[in-house]
Every structure is written in structure tokens, then in C-alpha cells.
């Protein structure tokens, strides 16, 4: 397009972020990644590898090792061997390693952000401004707790070897949530990243080597469900920390029951987003964008159920539709893209199937007039209105950019609808009236209630009151819940 045409149309152009550094990292491993066990890159004993793709381009990124039971056993053994000296180092010395990791993450933040965006399909804007800065902050924060352990948490003892299984929606952030507190408190870890998104965990392994973290303190094993099962069932693992689907969470709970293993689970949600008639509707719209279109809606605490007071429902819907029309879906490495790619074809299919069911149930489906890029696994932002609570899309977690909306008549009905779910992870309340917000908030059965905001995170845990029973005091809780 000529300058003159751009001057007239004022259309956005492409704004690609360079992936040079991340490509160099992949090439430095010859695009074939081994397992990180006992501080060394170790070939999988199965000899098997699987492919990792970039969902925004469908381009092949690398081959990833599939760890089998023997590899898991090696990793757990390494972690067990490393445990005693790691504990004996003491909090202050462990803090030095955590600070070093945090600094290296900041130093390589652009590489992490780009690689995460390529691997997961989420916009570079999010990985650059949210995921990776938060990752660094988690390590700094827990370095602080490691230092304070002797005085503030005198009675606390390490748990032992912790098996950590993390999801694909926030690969590095989940790694940080799990690894930082575990190391701070003197545990050693075997971490399995999700099979779709292993690459940044492997880059993290490189960082662990660079800072001279003692061998075996962090082990990264890659693979599918079988690898995770081997880790869950390993007798020398003292605790399993899992974030992911409710289905798998239940399997893990069953598998660990009666074994004496500790467990922490962070699972799904269908969180209500409650809008009262006196809310600032323009702010609400941006809150919704953050609640359901952040990370393509692949967020456990996504505000996926919009409950809006009848008197303003139509007005809000039309504002949301106008905003949806201006959202931009595209290549995750484009700096001006709002919504990236769905992580994998199987997830895309899940979303498509649930949307179809929503349509079959007679709910009103609306999507913007533009179409998504053809290459890559994209799904447009979608709004369902006039949804009844009995419809499957009002009950099931979709884990995609799909918002289901229904209206309520009274405050008490809003509370009832909000609590009409088997989940209870998060919620948000929108009103300009502080008294109303304070009245409603404690009535919502959810571990987190945001008021006039959404997805606000710092270093603390999400607590699902239904499926998780882990309550200690604020930040200290985070240290015990890794």
C-alpha cells in the first residue's frame, strides 16, 4: 500500500517482533531437545521424540523428548539425591540462586517472551508485558521468602521431592508459580511442562545451568500423559502439584489417595462476571475483553459467564459487539494483535464443538464480521446472549474466546446465578456503588472476587473453594502450595 493510501484509510499495518534470538536458541539445540536431568541434557531412554508446533503459523519448531518411566525414575532419583545438600544450604544461600534466576530471566526476558509466544500462540504483547515480568517477580518474591524462612517460618520443613505438572496456557508463569516457592523452602523438583508448550521450560533449564544451580535441584522432563502418570505414581515423590483440567485433577487425586503424598490442584472454572445497572459500562467492556479474550480465553479464572442486570443488558451487549468488531486476531508475534492462536487443533475442535452445541440449544451466537487468518489455529471472539443456565455452554468450561451472557432481575438472583456452578474459582463484580459491591462479594462462592477489575494477579494462589482445600495465611500459603 502506498503512503497516500495508508493516509486515507489509516489501516493498521503489520508490526512483527523479531524471533531471531529464539530461533538461535532452538538451533543451538539442533531443534531436538533432550531431558534435563541432574543438570545434564539426557537423551530419552525410549529414544522417542514428538513434534512441537507454533499454533499461529503451524510451523514445526522442534522435536521434544518423550520421557518414559525409567527417565522419570532417573529424574526423581536425581532430585532425591540433591535434596539433602539443598536443604542444608539454608534459606539465605538458596535465596542467592533464586535471585540469580530472577535476574537471568529479566536479562533474557525478550527471548522468553518471543519463544513463549511462538510456542503457545499467545500475543507477544501479553508474554512481553505480563507473563515474563510476572515470572521474574515470582522468583524475586520467593527469594525473599527463602531469606525469611529462618525467622518467619521457623517450624516449616521442606516436603521433599515435588512432582509438578503444569498446563499449556501460561507455560512459564505456571513454572514460576510451582518452582519458585518449592526451591525457596528447600524442596527439589521434577517438573513436566505440557506437551504443547515445553520450549520455555527447556530454555529455563539452560538458565538453571547458567546460574550454577546444583545438579538435580530442578529436573525438567517432557512428554505426554504417560510421563505425568509415571511422575504421579513414583513412590519417592512427596508431593504432586498440578494445574490443569478438572478431569486430570480427579485422576491424580484418586492416584495419590492413601499414598501419603501431598497434593495441590488448581483446576477449571466457569467464573461469573456480574454487571449491575450502575456500573460504568465502557469500563465493563474493557474488563470483559480482559476477562474472556485475554490469552484467547484459555484462562482457568476467565470471566466466561457474563451476568448482567436486565435494565442495561441490551445496551451492554451492543457495546460489547462494537468492541469485538475492533479486536484483532492474528500472528502471535505481531505486536498489535489482541488475540493470538488457540494452542492446538484439539483445543480448537473442543471450542468449535461447544459453540455448535450452544447454537443447537437455541442460544443467540454473535461473531464479528471479519474473518480470522486462514493459516494457524485461530478462533474469533464469540458472544452468546440469552443463554439459559441449563444450556451446556453455561455449565461447561469452554476454555476459548467464547463469552456466554445471561441477564438477571434482582441482586439476589444475580448471586443465585453466580453460584449456580460446580466450579468456584474466581468472579468479578461491576458497580459504581461500594455498598453493593461489599454486599455481594461475600455471597459469591468463589476463591477470588475482583471488584471493578478482572484477572489481577500478583504472587498469591488461586483458591477454588469447591475442589481445593488449601488455606493458610496469604503469602505464606503460597510458600507451602507449590
Amino acid at each position: 500500500m502506498s503512503i497516500k493510501e495508508i493516509y486515507q484509510t489509516m489501516e493498521y499495518g503489520p508490526a512483527p517482533e523479531s524471533n531471531k534470538e529464539s530461533v538461535a536458541f532452538l538451533d543451538s539445540h539442533k531443534r531436538k531437545f533432550s531431558l534435563f536431568i541432574n543438570g545434564k541434557w539426557t537423551k530419552p531412554s525410549s529414544g522417542e521424540y514428538f513434534e512441537s508446533f507454533s499454533p499461529a503459523t503451524t510451523q514445526k519448531l522442534a522435536q521434544i523428548a518423550e520421557a518414559n518411566e525409567k527417565d522419570v525414575d532417573d529424574a526423581v532419583k536425581a532430585a532425591k539425591k540433591a535434596l539433602k545438600p539443598w536443604v542444608e544450604l539454608g534459606g539465605h544461600s538458596r535465596a542467592r540462586y533464586l535471585y540469580a534466576i530472577a535476574r537471568q530471566i529479566q536479562k533474557h526476558s525478550r527471548n522468553f517472551a518471543v519463544l513463549e509466544s511462538m510456542d503457545n500462540g499467545k500475543p507477544i504483547r501479553e508474554t512481553r508485558d505480563i507473563d515474563i515480568p510476572l515470572v521474574a517477580r515470582h522468583f524475586y518474591h520467593h527469594a525473599g521468602w527463602a531469606q525469611l524462612m529462618d525467622t518467619e517460618m521457623k517450624d516449616y520443613k521442606e516436603i521433599g521431592v515435588i512432582g509438578q505438572i503444569i498446563p499449556w496456557n501460561f507455560p512459564m508463569l505456571m513454572l514460576a508459580w510451582k518452582i519458585a516457592p518449592a526451591l525457596a523452602m528447600g524442596n527439589t523438583v521434577v517438573l513436566k511442562p505440557a506437551e504443547f508448550t515445553s520450549l520455555t521450560a527447556l530454555l529455563f533449564a539452560d538458565i538453571c545451568k547458567q546460574v550454577g544451580l546444583p545438579d538435580g535441584v530442578v529436573n525438567i522432563i517432557t512428554g505426554h500423559g504417560g510421563t505425568g502418570a509415571a511422575l504421579v505414581n513414583h513412590p519417592d515423590v512427596s508431593k504432586i502439584a498440578f494445574t490443569g483440567s478438572t478431569e486430570v485433577g480427579k485422576i491424580i487425586r484418586r492416584a495419590t489417595a492413601g499414598t501419603g503424598k501431598k497434593i495441590s490442584l488448581e483446576l477449571g472454572g466457569k467464573s461469573p462476571f456480574i454487571v449491575f445497572e450502575d456500573a460504568d459500562l465502557d469500563s465493563v467492556v474493557e474488563g470483559i475483553v480482559d476477562a474472556i479474550w485475554f490469552n484467547q480465553g484459555q484462562v482457568c479464572c476467565a470471566g466466561s459467564r457474563l451476568l448482567v442486570q436486565e435494565s442495561v443488558a441490551e445496551k451492554l451487549y451492543s457495546k460489547i459487539r462494537a468492541r469485538m468488531e475492533t479486536l484483532r486476531v492474528g500472528d502471535s508475534l505481531d505486536k498489535s494483535v489482541d488475540i493470538g492462536a488457540i494452542v492446538a487443533p484439539i483445543q480448537l475442535k473442543t471450542i468449535e464443538d461447544l459453540v455448535q452445541k450452544g447454537k443447537d440449544d437455541g442460544n443467540i451466537c454473535w461473531q464479528p464480521s471479519w474473518t480470522c487468518p486462514k493459516e494457524g489455529y485461530f478462533y474469533p471472539p464469540t458472544l452468546f446472549t440469552n443463554v439459559s443456565p441449563s444450556s451446556i455452554i453455561a455449565q461447561e468450561e469452554i476454555f476459548g474466546p467464547v463469552l456466554v451472557a445471561m441477564s438477571f432481575r434482582s441482586h439476589s438472583e444475580a448471586v443465585k446465578l453466580a453460584n449456580n456452578t460446580r466450579y468456584g474459582l474466581a468472579s468479578s463484580i461491576w458497580t459504581e456503588n461500594i455498598n453493593l459491591a461489599l454486599d455481594i462479594a461475600p455471597q459469591i462462592k468463589a476463591g477470588t472476587v475482583w471488584i471493578n477489575c478482572s484477572n489481577v494477579f500478583d504472587r498469591r494462589d488461586l483458591v477454588d473453594i469447591e475442589s481445593q482445600v488449601m488455606v493458610e495465611k496469604a503469602a505464606k500459603r503460597a510458600c507451602t502450595n507449590m
Binding site: S2, I3, K4, Y7, T9, M10, D282, T326
Partner: protein
């Protein structure tokens, strides 16, 4: 852009220079390199104090560039309403096609919206055919809620544009205050069907800042608010940076400011 000079030491000399720059804002070779030589690029207006209108009229003869005059006791607005109206009338008579008025901040601080409405409506009447931009001086309004209300009152009273600042407050145009004001413009459009323009002024000195504003306008209000009839920057030094960025685009190198003709 309303290319602006509003200083105590303005004379005929620098106003004439400013007008010449307004007619030829970007070096010709740069425009040619971008295929824009025949696009008729000028600034949206030239903005001066009342006393200097005649010089601007003379200097802009033969162009289509309107003269904007700041009025109503600019910048503080601390004169009586009859004086304000008289000043507007004089400016219009001198040849100003656009009048930038300042509101009485007192009325906003006291939440006397009716009086504010009456004041602005009277100014509107005094402007006659001239285009009226209403300066809220948001740096002196303590809350976003009051900015929103003042915006609405200004539009209801007949403003063609609402404008953030005089450039003389300690805080001038900001993106958050812009968001509040443009959302009120959208609300007013939804309620009445009338499109009101927006002018951020003061402190926008870099091309990058200007882009942030353009993106905000495009996202919140759409393409119509990227056109000079509904959007203007009030700025004096912004043009210089834009020229340097354009030269960087054309040549791949940044030039010193002295390589661009000054205003």
C-alpha cells in the same frame, strides 16, 4: 494539527513565520519521496492570541488554513461573562474562523452545571458561524467524573470540539483524561446523533505520543475522528519531531532539527 503560538512575546514576525510553516509543514523533498507532494498537506489551523489575528489573516491569504483564536480570558478564564462574549465577537470580526474558549473552572469545582451550560451556550451564540472549541482545562478539574460531566455540558451547550487544556496548566493533555472525554463524545453521539470533535493540547511533543492519541481515537471512536474536522492536536513543537521521524522513514537516518525549516 492546530499549529500554535501562545506566548507573551509573540509578534507579527513569529506569527507570520508560523503561518508560512503551516502552509508548508513538511520539507518538499520528503513529501515527494513519500508520494505525497500533491496531497495538499497543511496544518489544520493556526492558533494565536486575539491581538495577532490580523497578521495571521494577512499571512494566510490564499490558503484554506483557518485561524483559531484563543478567547474568553485565556488561559485562566477569570474575567466576567460580558467581557468573554465581547472578546469572542472581536476575534470573529477580526477574521478568526475558529474560537477556542476556556470554561470557568469555578463552576466545575462547585458542580454548578446549569451555570456552566449557560456560559458556554452564550459563548456559542457569540461565535456565530465560527467553529467553537471548548477548553475544559482538565489539569484543574480534580476527578474524571467531573471531566465527564463538564464534557457532556460543553457538548450540550453547542461546542463543535471539546479540548483538554490551554497548555498553561501544570498538567495538560493525558491519555486517561482523553479516554474519559472521547467516551463522552461517543455517549453524546449515541444520545443525539451529533459528532463532536476532540482536541488534546499541551505536552504532546513527540510523533510517538501523537500516534498513541491517533490509535486511541481510532479504537474508541473510529476513522471519522482521524480527520481534521473532528480531531486536532494543539501543539507547537510536535511538528518538528514529526518531520524528523518522516525523514527517518525516507532516509533511514535521523536528522538534526536545524535541517528542517523552523516555524
Amino acid at each position: 494539527m492546530d499549529l500554535t503560538t501562545l506566548a507573551g512575546d509573540d509578534t507579527r514576525g513569529n506569527v507570520v513565520r508560523l503561518c508560512a510553516k503551516a502552509a508548508n509543514p513538511v520539507r518538499k523533498d520528503l513529501l515527494e519521496a513519500m508520494g505525497m507532494a500533491d496531497a495538499g498537506i497543511t496544518t489544520g489551523a493556526v492558533c494565536v492570541y486575539h491581538n495577532l489575528i490580523p497578521y495571521a489573516v494577512e499571512a494566510l491569504k490564499g490558503t484554506n488554513i483557518p485561524i483559531a483564536a484563543v478567547s474568553t480570558g485565556f488561559p485562566a478564564g477569570q474575567i466576567s461573562l460580558p467581557e468573554k462574549l465581547k472578546e469572542i465577537e472581536l476575534s470573529v470580526a477580526s477574521g478568526a474562523k475558529e474560537i477556542d474558549i476556556v470554561i470557568s473552572r469555578t463552576l466545575v469545582l462547585q458542580s454548578d452545571w446549569k451555570a456552566l451550560y449557560d456560559e458556554i451556550a452564550a459563548c456559542r451564540k457569540a461565535c456565530g458561524e465560527a467553529h467553537m472549541k471548548t477548553i475544559l482545562a482538565t489539569g484543574e478539574i480534580p476527578t474524571f467524573t467531573k471531566v465527564a460531566k463538564a464534557s457532556m455540558v460543553a457538548m450540550m451547550a453547542g461546542s463543535d470540539f471539546i479540548k483538554t487544556s490551554t497548555g498553561k496548566e501544570s498538567v495538560n493533555a493525558t491519555l486517561p483524561v482523553t479516554l474519559v472525554m472521547v467516551r463522552m463524545i461517543r455517549e453524546y453521539l449515541e444520545l443525539t446523533g451529533y459528532k463532536v470533535g476532540y482536541k488534546p493540547a499541551g505536552g504532546i511533543a513527540k510523533a510517538k505520543d501523537a500516534l498513541n492519541y491517533l490509535i486511541l481515537m481510532k479504537e474508541e471512536l473510529g476513522h471519522d475522528w482521524l480527520q481534521p474536522d473532528l480531531f486536532r492536536f494543539g501543539a507547537s513543537s510536535l511538528l518538528g519531531d514529526i518531520e524528523r521521524q518522516l525523514e527517518h522513514y525516507v532516509t533511514g537516518r535521523y536528522s538534526a532539527s536545524y535541517r528542517h525549516p523552523m516555524a
